[in-house]
Symmetry: C2
């Protein structure tokens, strides 16, 4: 493909992309395809000779788009939002053009330095405590990760290495000796990563990747699924009793199931109770709800991250912050000869490869820079307020039919968690904001029926989950293209389908 | 940014991108900036109000481009190539547009199914053995990873889990019991991952991430830096003696230092010598040189991967293949309620989240599809042959001045590794293809001087390394924009700088 072919192809692709965003609200959000739909449509072997872009673009239209789940649709209300914006597409174009796996400063100074700068921009936008800025006295800083799961796995490995090294050096062992190595694996085998059972699965997966044990703290509906101090203390004490060493704790701002916020102050107070608990690495997973911190009215939450917190991550561009970058580099720096260069050796520059599992990196800082400049902080605040407002509208609609529905956890951050009431049940309250949903097989069955029927029709896409034994529906209203009518339409669909299911009985 | 602003911005960006590729050969490949150059050029805080694209694009031109190391320049001859092509930029545009973290099939069937299909395309293009196809009897298949480092870390974790489970089940322990957990960490603490000391650093880093020991096999210049059977046997026997359990072996096709190819058949024969060695997970890291397998004349190498090999990775789009996908999913599948869905539960679909560390995924399969169709297999073969041919030209130029230079390892796959001869040395041979470069501090010093002078001038960018105690320069000629004149120019620069350094003495 030469420059002229590319220019033509790109112009045509841009028209197609604009058309996609314009028409995506009208598309079925969940595709009507069966597993294996694509294989018969694609040749068994790659072509020997070049094909024209026109043919490729037509295939995108006829073969790919019909098989997409449209995360950008305003009718996508499942999982969590994974939003794309026009400026971020421009960012991807330039990032690809400049492709430079900037694993050290020299491999592309602009990539590294822009990342440090925009990480500081994001930290300030979120009102994160000073300690997470690259200029902080604690040698903090931010790094873009491939995904939230990568961020969590990276942090758990860093926490493991920090704890093992502390123990071994305190025992007077010397790094690099056989005794150090043997003892390292003794100590590691006793380490336990801890998180609430509402923590995203990446917590348990991170502990698994790091090769350490994992224990979860049970959250309960009567606590709104928040991790509490007493429940954490129970788990820590059990570890002590079993001769195990808790070394990492994930606290969550906005759990995946219900967007609950763990009780940070209370949990940190528990960690102060014993000296060896004070050495636990504390991570805040704000993957989904962290974005709300751009709006002033939520920034009070970040005040709890100033003390006793080692790291923080959030999904918007998969940013990860640490209080002390040496915790990362001490764990992950393996510098062979071919990666040595005078700048890195002098320690005057950041080599982001030592802040993550990946060696190579994309120039995603450019994308963050484009997006923040194109919207401005005020634009970002407006987006957060709009989508959280839609969540409030949806929750109010659910409450307005408390004869049919029960809100199961406190709605928030554009997420509403609810279930159907079981007309046969004697447990039914009437206020529609029950803080005490109780297990009820009848309600589970009805809720599941409604959920499956809605998704099978593909007009909106929602998720279900099980919270403290209760089967619930989650509806997220945080899509950039969403308008109030989409939220109202979603509730109409829920209502209609509920009435349909109740009549079938 | 609305649709019209985006259309204008994107057209302008495309013109800029075309201009970038047209002019990159004339730019200084290494930027003339000092650490910290960018910070004073960028406002300390993000803007409150939106800024225009014109301003942003101008800043890319004046602030970013001058700080880039131009990996796409034909004068970039360092590390390894990280090439971008026009069709892959189109792929990034569409991938961003459709943003769908397709962690399971339902999250976007087209993303998952296209990945399976193009992974099969790539496997066929490389003539990989049948076992790595998604349709194979061994339940093999390919997956796109974030980077080669991620691929290696993922495989090492999978190997660890497979080995531990084998041992524990053979001991009659039951998964989920406390005894199983305790014993798991005993066994894990004895595990050793093995690779040659020429293996990319991601091997040692992967073992570190997985929380297991690592031992390297020493490669020697007299073996052309290839890992040999006898050297591997020594390390395995030492592990046995120390009561340790080797569980993972990385063999490399194209080491980072010198593009050496480990002696696969010989190494596999050693693993057959003892039953517990037969259980070692064998991985082929072909990160750089694997791309050459698209050209028929190199495909004989892949025949060695048919038996006794568990997995294979290569940099072109960071693909990873396994012989049995259950080895990955058994290790990495942690499915919480909110990720459950009927298709996954039935096992009729692939959920790629269980094939990698990341949960979310980009739609990079689209990019591979665009690239393979835009060039065709014949275009890809032609690219490989052209760049390997340039390597041969460069090596011949070095040989033509055997009075000044000594080729240190067998040139290949577009990489030439050489050093300056030390005029004071008595070791000097005269054939210019010495298979016996010996340690020589004088030659090291001269070579290092030439290397540093060349990079400080930024006309070409090359890498140095140390091989078996010998300081060498590596020149890679695998850039898509490279022409023969660039290779000849690079040699002229090397020659001129060498003469300059020798005169200084």
């Amino acid at each position: 493909m030469d420059r002229n072919q590319f220019r033509d192809a790109a112009h045509s692709a841009i028209d197609d992309i604009v058309k996609y965003f314009d028409t995506v609200p009208e598309r079925r959000v969940l595709p009507a395809v069966d597993p294996g739909y694509l294989r018969p449509l694609i040749p068994e072997n790659p072509p020997d000779e070049p094909e024209d872009w026109a043919q490729i673009q037509e295939d995108v239209d006829t073969k790919i788009k019909p098989g997409l789940t449209h995360w950008q649709s305003p009718n996508f209300m499942a999982y969590y939002p994974a939003s794309v914006t026009y400026p971020s597409i421009l960012g991807e174009m330039y990032s690809a053009t400049f492709t430079a796996p900037a694993f050290n400063w020299l491999c592309s100074p602009a990539c590294t330095e822009m990342e440090t700068i925009v990480m500081d921009w994001v930290a300030k936008a979120l009102a994160l405590p000073e300690c997470f800025l690259s200029t902080s006295e604690t040698h903090g800083g931010g790094v873009i990760q491939n995904s939230a799961s990568d961020a969590i796995a990276t942090i758990i490995v860093a926490a493991r290495e920090r704890r093992v090294r502390e123990v071994l050096l305190a025992e007077g062992l010397k790094e690099g000796t056989p005794e150090y190595e043997d003892r390292k694996f003794d100590v590691q085998g006793k380490l336990v990563a801890i998180a609430s059972d509402q923590t995203h699965s990446s917590g348990a997966k991170g502990a698994l990747i790091a090769g350490t044990r994992f224990r979860s703290v049970t959250a309960r509906l009567k606590d709104n699924m928040e991790m509490t101090g007493p429940r954490l203390r129970e788990v820590l004490e059990k570890c002590d009793k079993d001769g195990l060493t808790p070394y990492h704790l994930t606290m969550t701002m906005g759990t995946t199931n219900s967007c609950s916020v763990d009780r940070f102050a209370e949990l940190k107070a528990v960690l102060q109770e014993k000296p060896h608990w004070q050495r636990i690495w504390v991570h805040i997973d704000a993957a989904y709800a962290g974005a709300s911190l751009v709006a002033d009215e939520w920034q009070y939450i970040a005040k709890d991250f100033a003390e006793g917190v080692d790291s923080f991550n959030m999904n918007m561009h998969n940013v990860l912050y640490v209080r002390n970058r040496l915790d990362l580099t001490n764990a992950l720096d393996i510098t062979p000869t071919y990666l040595r260069n005078p700048y890195s050796d002098m320690g005057t520059v950041i080599d982001y490869r030592n802040w993550s599992i990946s060696l190579g990196r994309r120039f995603r800082a450019l994308k963050i820079w484009f997006v923040m400049r194109s919207y401005g902080l005020n634009g970002m605040k407006a987006h957060i307020r709009k989508t959280i407002g839609f969540g409030d509208i949806f929750a109010d609609l659910v409450r307005s039919r408390s004869d049919l529905f029960e809100i199961v956890t406190k709605p928030g951050f554009a997420l509403t968690v609810f279930r159907l009431r079981n007309p046969q049940s004697s447990f039914n309250g009437a206020n529609g904001t029950s803080e005490r949903a109780v297990q009820d097989k009848g309600a589970d069955t009805l809720t599941k029926k409604v959920y499956e029927l809605i998704n099978s029709r593909g007009e909106i896409f929602i998720t279900s989950t099980v919270i403290d034994g209760v089967y619930v529906i989650r509806v997220v209203s945080a899509n950039p293209l969403a308008e109030e009518k989409n939220v109202r339409n979603a509730f109409d669909i829920v209502l209609r389908t509920t009435e349909e299911v109740l009549q079938q009985k």
